[in-house]
Symmetry: C2
Subunit: 359 residues, 2 copies
């Protein structure tokens, strides 16, 4: 069962995908180490310019000859309203003051048309560079994009948080689909359903999704070890995607303090917030999240709020101030270790084999 169509389609040795965490975590070292260790390394390219993307793709190619992939954010329509931006800035200015940053009133933000153009440029780069695998979050790309990528033989992976979203991904021609359980760290991938409807635990979501699509289902959310891999397979998944487990690896570009906080946290320490980006995401609770809690329903949508909080997050990183960083993390931080990617993958496979042998 560990040797199935998912690994055949992806041409990898083990059914393990490294989640494409955006924002500098998926260094070329991490991506290539995953692919060199038998998994599928993924570049989290959501926030990258097409140029940055091309640079990293080329870098990864020099470090591994195995399959790897990139992940892109499918742009969702958003409206820029100066009054909403102004009131969001009013909420953020006290934090800026605390961090000795200048206050802000308005902000220059690219409009939806521009964001969409960038997405199309990213797709072009992926095809020009012959990236073997392309995964998507926050939606399904337009049919034209899907068919172009298919013509280029790119393997396509969608993301779903409910059965309906999984079915839509299959209908649109995705080759497989990530099933994101409520345990998952970072951004919720929901695109049809609101946050509440999409907060389904993996124990429920995986089998219900597997029953309703024919493409391989890949489990994501809270999986950290051989136990989680084998459990996902039992539930009907063909493989797993892990974020937090790779985030704390030595090769990951996450801030050292982010790694330390995760490896010292418990399952009770994460919360869902939309204060950092305008989209719901799971991370370790800190001062920023707590202070914004009662205001988060009125914030601008993604990616506006994300752009607005950028100066705060960057400053916090430069000062190693954990209270104002986005400390994305799934619900299994007790199982996170700071170790090499190779050791992580090897121990997962060894543990899974050991459990299998005792069943």
């Amino acid at each position: 069962m560990l040797n199935n169509e998912m690994i055949k389609i992806l041409k990898i040795k083990y059914p393990i995908i490294q989640a494409p965490m955006a924002g500098g975590i998926t260094t070329s070292e991490l991506v290539s180490a995953v692919s060199n260790s038998g998994g599928l390394g993924m570049i989290g390219a959501g926030y990258m310019t097409p140029l940055q993307m091309r640079d990293q793709i080329r870098k990864v190619k020099t470090l591994t000859s195995n399959h790897f992939g990139i992940n892109l954010f499918v742009p969702n329509k958003f409206a820029i309203r100066q009054d909403t931006i102004q009131s969001a800035n009013q909420l953020l200015n006290p934090f800026r003051e605390q961090l000795n940053l200048p206050p802000k009133d308005s902000i220059d933000i690219p409009d939806f048309h521009h964001v969409y153009e960038t997405f199309i440029e990213q797709i072009k780069v992926a095809m020009e560079e012959n990236v073997p695998v392309c995964s998507f979050t926050f939606g399904i790309p337009p049919a034209k994009v899907v068919s172009e990528l298919k013509t280029a033989n790119t393997i396509l992976i969608g993301t779903a948080t409910t059965v309906r979203e999984a079915v839509e991904n299959e209908k649109a021609g995705m080759d497989m689909v990530i099933i994101q359980g409520s345990e998952a760290g970072g951004h919720r991938g929901n695109f049809i359903d609101d946050k509440n409807r999409s907060l389904v635990g993996s124990m429920s979501l995986i089998p219900q999704a597997a029953d309703n699509v024919r493409i391989p289902v890949i489990a994501a959310g809270g999986i950290m070890d051989g136990r989680g891999l084998l459990a996902s397979i039992c539930l009907g998944a063909k493989g797993i995607q892990m974020g937090t487990a790779f985030l704390t690896c030595i090769e990951s570009g996450a801030q050292p303090i982010h790694k330390d906080i995760i490896t010292n946290s418990t399952e009770e320490d994460t919360v869902l917030t939309r204060s950092f980006s305008g989209k719901w995401a799971r991370g370790i609770k800190n001062t920023f999240i707590t202070c914004m809690k009662n205001k988060e329903w009125n914030l601008p949508d993604f990616p506006i709020q994300n752009t607005l909080t950028q100066d705060i997050r960057k400053n916090a990183v430069s000062k190693n101030n954990k209270e104002f960083m986005s400390l994305w993390c799934g619900q299994s931080p007790r199982l996170a270790k700071q170790q090499s990617t190779k050791i992580l993958i090897q121990s997962i496979m060894a543990e899974a084999e050991k459990i299998k042998s005792t069943m």
Copy 2:
């Protein structure tokens, strides 16, 4: 792995416990059918008088010679404040009007002392009747109660929604502990941690709990079939407890409309509410939950709110009106079937064996 210390301690054939759903669902027919089919049937005695409890225990004994158990609610301190009751009644009176029920202003509610006395009476009955297994929700009984039950050789099972709660159960002398994931239907069993901290998905919660206690861990929440059983075992559990899967069985005392709604629902249809009882619980969204949504933080605690809504729920049942019933359900309704208990248990074990053989 399916033949482990959990089934040895409980003297059952299969590692399956029927969740002790209170409020008439766990009929003697259901409890005995589970025990006669190789699982552990449980009487949900939380809302029963000691007399009702004794009657049902005796009835179950006539229907099975196998082990079975009862579940009790550990009383949590609550204060009766007439102003809170009055304002809660003001919220409920429009529903009463809609259902042609008389409005209410105040209500006679037993105080904490009385509730606690009833709990002690329930414990006495369990011991006098030599009930083999006793499980607890909403907390851990006082040390004196635990030691009396242990002297009587009662097997004790606690409930936990976080690792900390699991550890407390072990320290208090529980023989095993139910680990309730966020997928679970019905009442949240949290007693240390608030609802938000305790909403941890099973994929994360089971392995983290199993790593931190030595007593057997029993997975609960969203488990419906052989896939869920085997996944739970892979994650470190020794067995499973299922609620929704048994609720829709033929022998269950749940309202036929409740069963029908579950078997026609999806993973998107459940929500958490404290509007029915004052404690957070997961059920199918309906008019009552939706209307009370923005007011639920200010309601009286359990069991006060539960007593207040009793006339509404009873009337809704008598009229087969699904909009005002508490339709408890976990996050896997797509996997629910209306079938006999025996078929359910047999198909779970057959499916688990089949999956094992292909691993």
